[in-house]
C-alpha cells in the first residue's frame, strides 16, 4: 500500500514543485519520468486544424443543433438575403407573442415582482429590495431541495441553481411555484435588478 503523502510528493515533483519531505526513491522516480515527459512531448499527429471559416460554420451548425443558437441568428455579421430577414422578423414576432402568453404564469405566487426570461438559463427578477428578495428566494429554493448559491456580479445580486437533467416533474413544479420557469439545461441563473429610480 502506497503512502498517500508519498503520492502527493510524487505529484508535486512531477509538476515541478518542491517536495522537501519526499524520499529518495520517489524523487528519482519522478525526476526521470518528468524529465522524459518534458523532453519527449507528445505532439499532435501530422496535419492541421480545418480552416477557421469552415470550423466556424460547423460550430454554428452544432450550436443550432444543440438549441443554443436560433436558426435566424446563425449568420450574424454576414450579408443576409432579404428572405432570411423576413424569417428572423417572423421568429421575433412569434417569440414576443409567446412571452406575452406565458408571462402571467411566470409571476411569483405572492410577489408583485416582474420576472423576465433573458437568454436561455438567466431569469431576471425586478425587486425593490434585491437583497432581501434574494435571501427569501434562496431559502425557498433550498427548502425545496435545490442546490442554490448566491452570487454578486457587476453590481447585481443573483442565485445560481444546479439542476438535474432531465428535471424531475416535482422539481419543475417547485420552480413554477416559486415563480420561476424550468430551464432546459443543468443550471438556472436568477438575477435581481432594482427598478430604475423615479426622476426628480
Amino acid at each position: 500500500m502506497q503512502d498517500p503523502d508519498d503520492d502527493q510528493h510524487w505529484l508535486d515533483l512531477m509538476a515541478g514543485r518542491a517536495a522537501p519531505d519526499a524520499d529518495a526513491r520517489t524523487r528519482k522516480e519522478a525526476a526521470w519520468l518528468r524529465a522524459a515527459m518534458l523532453s519527449y512531448r507528445v505532439s499532435a499527429p501530422p496535419g492541421a486544424p480545418a480552416d477557421a471559416d469552415q470550423r466556424a460554420g460547423r460550430l454554428l451548425t452544432r450550436a443550432r443543433d444543440a438549441g443554443v443558437l436560433a436558426a435566424a441568428a446563425n449568420d450574424a455579421g454576414a450579408r443576409r438575403p432579404a428572405g432570411r430577414w423576413r424569417h428572423a422578423l417572423a421568429a421575433g414576432v412569434a417569440a414576443c407573442a409567446l412571452v406575452l402568453v406565458f408571462l402571467p404564469q411566470l409571476q411569483g405566487p405572492d410577489e408583485a415582482d416582474d420576472v423576465t426570461l433573458r437568454g436561455a438559463p438567466v431569469q431576471r427578477i425586478d425587486a425593490a429590495d434585491a437583497q432581501s428578495r434574494r435571501q427569501q428566494l434562496l431559502q425557498d429554493l433550498r427548502a425545496a431541495g435545490f442546490e442554490a448559491q448566491p452570487f454578486e456580479r457587476l453590481g447585481r445580486l443573483g442565485i445560481d441553481v444546479s439542476l438535474p437533467v432531465p428535471l424531475p416533474p416535482a422539481q419543475s413544479a417547485a420552480l413554477t411555484r416559486l415563480g420561476l420557469a424550468a430551464p432546459p439545461g443543468p443550471s438556472l441563473q436568477i438575477e435581481f435588478v432594482a427598478p430604475e429610480p423615479a426622476g426628480p
Partner: protein
C-alpha cells in the same frame, strides 16, 4: 475585440450574435492550441474538432455560470480539457479490453516482468553503455503510447501535470471530483503508470527503477 471577463459577461448577457461573435474570435485566435492539444491526446484532427466544438457549445450553454476567478479563456480551456477527458473515457469504454500488464496494486504480471528483465538484459544497453539518445526516446515513446492506450485519461492528466504544473485544485476542477476522489485519482495515475514505464526505468538507470 477584448477577450476579457467583462466583455465575456456582457456578450453572454446579451446572447445571440454577441456571444456567437465572441466565440468565433476565441476559436480564430486561440482555437489552434485547443485543437492541437486535443489532437495530441486523441491522435485525430477530426476527433479533436468534435471535442473542441462540443466544448464551445458547452461554453455557450454555461456562459451565464462563469464567475472566474481568472479570465474566461482559462475557464474555456478547462471546459475543453474536461470535454476531452470525457471523450477519452468514452473511447476507453468502447475499446476492446486487453489483458492488463499489472494487477490492481500496480505490480507487473509475471510475463510483463519477464519481458522487462529481458529488455534490460539483452536488447537495450544501460546508460553506462552509452545508449544512443534516439533509442532512449523510442523506448520512452513506446512506453507512453502503451500507457495512453490503456489509461488515456490518466496519461493525459499526467501530461498536463508535467507540462502545466497542475496542482490538486486544478485537477479537481478538471475531473469535477471531490478532493478525496482526486487524491485517489493521483495515486492511481502513479500506480497505473509504473508498469508501463518499468522497461524505460530499467533502461535509463537501474537506480531509477520504480519501487
Amino acid at each position: 475585440m477584448d477577450l476579457d471577463a467583462h466583455s465575456f459577461t456582457l456578450a453572454c448577457r446579451e446572447g445571440g450574435s454577441r456571444i456567437e461573435t465572441w466565440l468565433r474570435v476565441v476559436d480564430r485566435e486561440h482555437g489552434a492550441r485547443f485543437y492541437r492539444e486535443a489532437a495530441a491526446a486523441l491522435r485525430s484532427w477530426q476527433a479533436a474538432e468534435d471535442v473542441v466544438q462540443d466544448a464551445m457549445v458547452k461554453v455557450w450553454q454555461r456562459c451565464a455560470t462563469f464567475r472566474g476567478p481568472g479570465e474566461p479563456l482559462a475557464w474555456i480551456h478547462q471546459i475543453v480539457r474536461n470535454t476531452l477527458l470525457d471523450a477519452l473515457r468514452q473511447r476507453q469504454a468502447q475499446a476492446p479490453r486487453e489483458q492488463p500488464l499489472h494487477d490492481d496494486d500496480g505490480q507487473l504480471t509475471r510475463d510483463a516482468e519477464a519481458a522487462v528483465l529481458d529488455l534490460s538484459a539483452s536488447r537495450v544497453a544501460t546508460p553506462e553503455g552509452a545508449l544512443a539518445e534516439h533509442q532512449i526516446e523510442a523506448v520512452f515513446r513506446r512506453c507512453f503510447e502503451q500507457f495512453a492506450a490503456a489509461h488515456p485519461e490518466h496519461a493525459t492528466v499526467l501530461r498536463w501535470v508535467v507540462e502545466d504544473g497542475l496542482d490538486n485544485a486544478a485537477i479537481e476542477a478538471l475531473l469535477e471530483r471531490s478532493p478525496g476522489a482526486t487524491r485517489e485519482f493521483i495515486s492511481q495515475c502513479r500506480k497505473k503508470a509504473r508498469p508501463f514505464f518499468a522497461a524505460w526505468y530499467a533502461l535509463v538507470s537501474p537506480a531509477a527503477s520504480a519501487p
